[in-house]
Amino acid sequence: MPSFSHIALLIHEWLSSHLNSTLTLTIEMVIAGVAVISLFAVLGLVLVIMERKVSAWMQIRLGPNRVGPRGMLQSLADTLKLLVKEGLTPSGADKFLFNLAPFIAMIIAMLLMAPIAFAKDFQLWDLNIGILYVSALSSVTVISILMAGWSSNNKFSLMGAMRSGAQIVSYELSAGLSALTIIVFTGSLQVSDIIRSQANGWWIFKGHIPALIAFITFIIAVTAETNRAPFDLAEAESELTAGFHTEYSGMKFALFFLAEYVNVFIACAIAATLFLGGWMPFHVGTWHAFNHVMDYIPSSIWFFGKTFFLIFIIMWFRWTFPRLRIDQLLNLEWKYLLPITMVNLLLTTAIVILGWHF
C-alpha cells in the first residue's frame, strides 16, 4: 500500500541513484519547500471554507452556497480576489517594517511545520527538542504582530498589537506547562518518541486525570495564542476595526490571514501529537486483534482526522463564546490556567515517580 513515507523513500532512492549527495539534498530541500507551500495553500482554502460553513451552521445560517458545488469554491474565489487587489502602504507607515511583517508571520508558520509528523515515518526534521522548538518559534509570532501594529502608524493597530503581545506572552506559559505534562510522561521532547510512547494507548486515555486537565488547558491556551475568538482581542472587529492588520490589504492581508489559519493547524497538530498520539492509530493496551484492525487505516488519515477534529473544536469555541474583556483574559490566565497547570504538572510528576501510569 503506498504511504507518504513510501513515496518519500522512492523519491530519495531515485534521486540518489542519479545525482550526487549534495545535489540530492538540495533537490530534496526544494521539494520539501514546495510541498510545505502547497500544503499552506490547500490548508488556507480548506480551513477558510470549513470555518465559514461551521460558523454558518452553528448560527442557523446556510453559509457560502453560490460559488461552485454547495459553495465549496468560495475560498478559491476569495483568494483570486485578494491576489488581484492592490496592496496599499499608508503614507505615514514605516514602509520597510510594514512590508516585512506579513512575511515574518508566514516564515515562522513555515518553520513550525518542520517537526510535525504527518504520517508514519514522514516528518521533515525529527530534531530532539521537537516540542521546545515549536514553543520557542511560536513565541516569535508575536514579533510580527508587534511589527505590523507599530509600523502601520495607526492607533487601532497599535492597540491591537499591544493586546496581542500581552496575550501571547501570558498564554505561552500555560501552553508550555500543559505540554510539559505529557513530556514528563514520555521523558522526551522528540516528536517521534512522544508518538511511539503512545503505541499502547493515547496519553489522554492512559495519563489519568492530569492528562485530561492538561488537554483542556492546552486547547484553551493555544486558542488564545493563535488570537482566535473568544480571545481575539487583538483583532476585535467591534472595537479596533481589525487590530494589527487594519491597514493591510490585498496579498499582504492574505498572508496574515493564511498565517493565522496555519497557526491554528499547527497548534492542533501539536495537540494531536501530544495528547491523541499523532499518526498513531487508536490502540488499546494489549488487545492485539483490535489494534491490528486499527492499523489498516493509514496513519496520515489518523493524523489529519485528529487534527481536523481539534480544529473543529477550536472553531466551535469561536462560534459559541463571546469575546473576553482584557482584564478577564488576564485573570483567566494568571488566576486560573497558570495555577491549575502548575498543580497539574506537580501531580503528573508525582504519578510518574510513583509509577502509577500505564
Partner: protein
C-alpha cells in the same frame, strides 16, 4: 473556604461553557433549524415573518373607499416627519362642510418602520405592508400618495 470556592468557580465555568457548546452543536447538527431563505429563487414562495414591516399603505375597498378621516394623528405621531396630511373640505349633500383628506403624502425614504402612526390611527385607516423591494432609480419616486385618486371616505367612519 477559598479553595472550595475556587474549585466551584472553575467547575461552574466549565459547566456553563458546556451548556453553550451543546446548543451550538445542536444547531450544527440540525440543519432543519436554518432560517435563511434563498431569496431571489424563492421569490414566489417567500415566507415573511408575521411582524415584518415594509411600508405604510392605506387599504381601499372595492368602491375605492378608505377609512381615513384626515385627523392628522399619524402626522403628529411620526417622529421624523414622514407623513404629511393635506386636507380639504367636502360639501355634504345636505350642505354641511366636512373635513376630508385631499392627499396623504408618505415619504418612504424617511420612514423607519417604527409603527407609531399605525398605533396612533383612531380609525385603522393605514397599516404596514410586507413589501420590501423598494429600490428605485430616482428618490422622488419614494414619495408616495397613499390615498387613491378619486377615493373617498367609507360610510360610517367618523
Amino acid at each position: 473556604m477559598g479553595l472550595i470556592k475556587y474549585i466551584k468557580n472553575v467547575w461552574s465555568a466549565l459547566r456553563s461553557l458546556a451548556i453553550g457548546m451543546r446548543r451550538t452543536l445542536y444547531y450544527f447538527t440540525h440543519h432543519k433549524e436554518i432560517i435563511t431563505q434563498q431569496y431571489p429563487e424563492n421569490r414566489d414562495t417567500l415566507n415573511l415573518p408575521e411582524r415584518f414591516k415594509g411600508e405604510v399603505v392605506m387599504p381601499h375597498n372595492e368602491q375605492n373607499e378608505h377609512r381615513c378621516t384626515g385627523c392628522t394623528a399619524c402626522e403628529l405621531a411620526c417622529p421624523n416627519g414622514t407623513i404629511k396630511v393635506i386636507t380639504k373640505f367636502d360639501v355634504n349633500p345636505d350642505g354641511k362642510k366636512k373635513k376630508a383628506i385631499d392627499k396623504l403624502v408618505y415619504h418612504l425614504e424617511l420612514c423607519t418602520m417604527c409603527n407609531l402612526c399605525i398605533e396612533a390611527c383612531p380609525s385603522d385607516a393605514i397599516k404596514m405592508a410586507q413589501t420590501f423591494e423598494h429600490s428605485v432609480y430616482d428618490r422622488s419616486q419614494l414619495t408616495k400618495i397613499l390615498n387613491n385618486p378619486g377615493s373617498k371616505i367609507m360610510d360610517g367612519v367618523e
